[in-house]
């Protein structure tokens, strides 16, 4: 792959030195710091009254919200897309606008080196960013609560970070796709924002409304209530934000055994307790694969579209 690593190196340097990226990095870091700090405070308060040593306290650092501040996981849920969009929205149309693409492509490299290099650099940047923030917060939390994580907890944290990387990468892929579809950087940025707002904030309302209209609940028929709930869940799962939430909730909380409605008959005889990591993963495997698939689809569409595009601006 001649040229791939040249493009990769340049894009990495660009990402890490761009003001846009540094601002978002600082934003997530600050949000994470305050979320973890307040989470640690409430955990310490709870610890003095009860023994929590066997209930995955370390993971709670990332998932507990103090009421005023959302948890770190929730912050990543709605700021992560912003990072992804910011990294990708002018990836290709910016090159056209500056007149650099034809110059770069007149060098002995394959055309796909450009788009592959940009994707790889983006994903690497996201990984470095989330991994460093995650580990930094873990270290801070450790100091604050003083209870060391178990191996299982560390593994769960790493799996969570991987999920977050895939989630942010999805938004970056979408932004790159828009940067190929639209010639104006402003248009692709706005299109990305529209998707972000729709999938993050409106999808639950739309799912509820759609379920109410299409599968109305009949008080006489208990089955309709269940159908309604499943339908609503199905619609919400179109959104990558929902997939992220469900995956995260299960991976970071071993006590979550199932997503969606649970029958009373199913609860009878259930042994309360935590699931091992592989069982937790099994619960959210479809969601996780769904996220990866969405990312891959965006990449594939970008790739095909880019390869067929005329080079002249």
């Amino acid at each position: 792959m001649p040229g791939l690593f040249a493009v990769f190196r340049k894009e990495m340097a660009d990402n890490f030195s761009s003001r846009r990226f540094l601002i978002l990095f600082a934003l997530i870091l600050l949000a994470g710091l305050s979320a973890t700090y307040t989470a640690a405070q409430s955990i310490r308060d709870a610890m003095s009254s009860a023994d929590l040593s066997d209930s995955f306290v370390f993971l709670k650092l990332f998932t507990v919200s103090s009421g005023t501040l959302p948890s770190f996981v929730a912050f990543v849920g709605f700021l992560g897309p912003l990072v992804g969009l910011a990294m990708g929205f002018d990836a290709i149309n910016g090159e056209y606008a500056r007149g650099t693409l034809s110059r770069v492509l007149s060098n002995p490299i394959f055309r796909d080196s450009v788009i592959n290099g940009k994707f790889l650099a983006g994903i690497t940047t996201i990984t470095v960013m989330l991994l460093s923030i995650g580990l930094l917060l873990g270290g801070l939390g450790l100091r604050l609560i003083g209870i060391p994580p178990t191996g299982d907890e560390i593994a769960r944290l790493l799996v969570y970070l991987l999920v977050a990387v895939v989630y942010v990468s999805f938004w970056m892929s979408l932004a790159i796709l828009f940067s190929i579809l639209f010639r104006q950087a402003a248009t692709s940025a706005l299109a990305g924002m529209a998707f972000w707002i729709f999938f993050t904030f409106f999808i639950t309302m739309i799912a509820a409304t759609a379920a109410q209209t299409l599968v109305p609940v009949d008080p006489q028929e208990p089955q309709t209530q269940l159908d309604n709930a499943y339908f609503q869940m199905g619609v919400a799962r179109i959104s990558p934000a929902t997939l992220y939430q469900e995956t995260t909730a299960t991976v970071l909380d071993p006590s979550v055994r199932t997503l969606g409605p649970v029958m009373l008959s199913e609860v009878i005889g259930m042994v309360p307790g935590a699931l091992p990591l592989d069982q937790s993963l099994l619960v959210v495997w479809p969601q996780f694969i769904g996220l990866i698939t969405l990312t891959a689809i965006c990449f594939a569409a970008s790739y095909v579209k880019f390869m067929r595009q005329e080079i002249r601006a």
Partner: protein
């Protein structure tokens, strides 16, 4: 251009259609190694499309394009290794310095860092940008960017360069510098140059041969003097003379001059069609006949005639 020199660029019935529009229509072009060939034509004549097809960046609808024997469509990497391309409105990464931009190009060409650094220093010196090498390109003027473009093209040590409108939008001083750089490149490094332009006056000074390109078709090709000859009916030079008194004896004498093929009298001005510039002889003859010579000039540059003939109607 001795006979042993290789064919650098060759196209055979090269055609590109965009829907109903034929951008390039069965182009047959041959440029020899070491030549400076000017692709002249009005905007939208298909010059850029031709260059992109030669580079393998656009696929031809029909026909072949070859660069030193390599098919541009089939072996684009081989072609792009030998060819430097300066696009019209060349763009650089504005938040990177001139040197960083060139280093990126070197990296794309797989040139190792140490060698690239030395070569880039040389090139920046050559295009007169050594003192601003570490300044961000965003602050460069158009002329400076264009010169940086020349350096960028030379980073890969090409055998051929394609320059698309290299003198467009820069001031006369910048144009002069650009043309000098191009000539130097052709002489010192024996690089074949294919340049496209619609600014005849600027490129005619440096091109060995030109092709006139109108609506995707090559309508005339050859050295500029010869093109002039085709257009003006075999007389490349027309001399206007005002003298008094003019009598038949003088007219006869002028007609008999070697190199003069015709003399007409138009509103008191003598119009001499000549096969070459024989103004000194004409002056001598007029003065020798006792008449007073009050004005003499070569009328209408050959290129203007070419321009009027092809570009306006195109």
């Amino acid at each position: 251009m001795d006979e042993r020199s290789q064919i650098a660029i060759e196209t055979v019935d090269l055609t590109k259609r965009y829907g109903d529009l034929t951008a390039v229509d069965r182009l047959n072009l041959r440029v020899m190694e070491g030549e400076i060939f000017g692709l002249l034509g009005p905007n939208g004549a298909g010059k850029t499309t031709t260059i992109l097809m030669l580079l393998g960046l656009t696929e031809p609808t029909a026909g072949k394009a070859r660069v030193f024997g390599h098919d541009s469509t089939r072996e684009p990497l081989k072609v792009k290794q030998m060819v430097g391309y300066l696009p019209d409105n060349v763009g650089f990464y504005e938040d990177m310095t001139a040197r960083e931009n060139l280093l990126y190009t070197a990296d794309l060409n797989g040139i190792p860092g140490k060698e690239a650094n030395r070569h880039i220093d040389e090139l920046l010196l050559r295009v007169g940008l050594a003192d601003v090498a570490d300044r961000e390109v965003g602050k460069f003027s158009k002329g400076m960017k264009q010169r940086l473009g020349i350096a960028d093209v030379l980073v890969k040590r090409p055998r051929i360069v394609f320059l698309d409108e290299p003198t467009l939008g820069i001031d006369p001083d910048g144009v002069k510098q650009m043309l000098e750089l191009i000539t130097q490149m052709s002489r010192a490094d024996r690089i074949t140059v294919l340049l496209s332009s619609h600014l005849l006056h600027q490129v005619q000074q440096i091109c060995h041969r030109v092709g006139i390109f109108v609506k995707g078709k090559m309508v005339a090709e050859g050295p500029i003097e010869k093109l002039g000859a085709q257009i003006m009916g075999g007389d490349p030079v027309v001399v206007e003379v005002e003298a008094s008194p003019v009598d038949d004896a003088l007219l006869d004498a002028l007609r008999k001059l070697k190199g003069v093929t015709g003399v007409d009298r138009v509103n008191g001005t003598l119009v001499l069609r000549c096969s070459k510039d024989v103004r000194p002889d004409i002056a001598r003859r007029i003065v020798g006949s006792g008449a007073a010579l009050s004005h003499m000039r070569i009328r209408g540059h050959v290129l203007e005639e070419i321009y009027l003939r092809y570009f306006r109607e195109g």
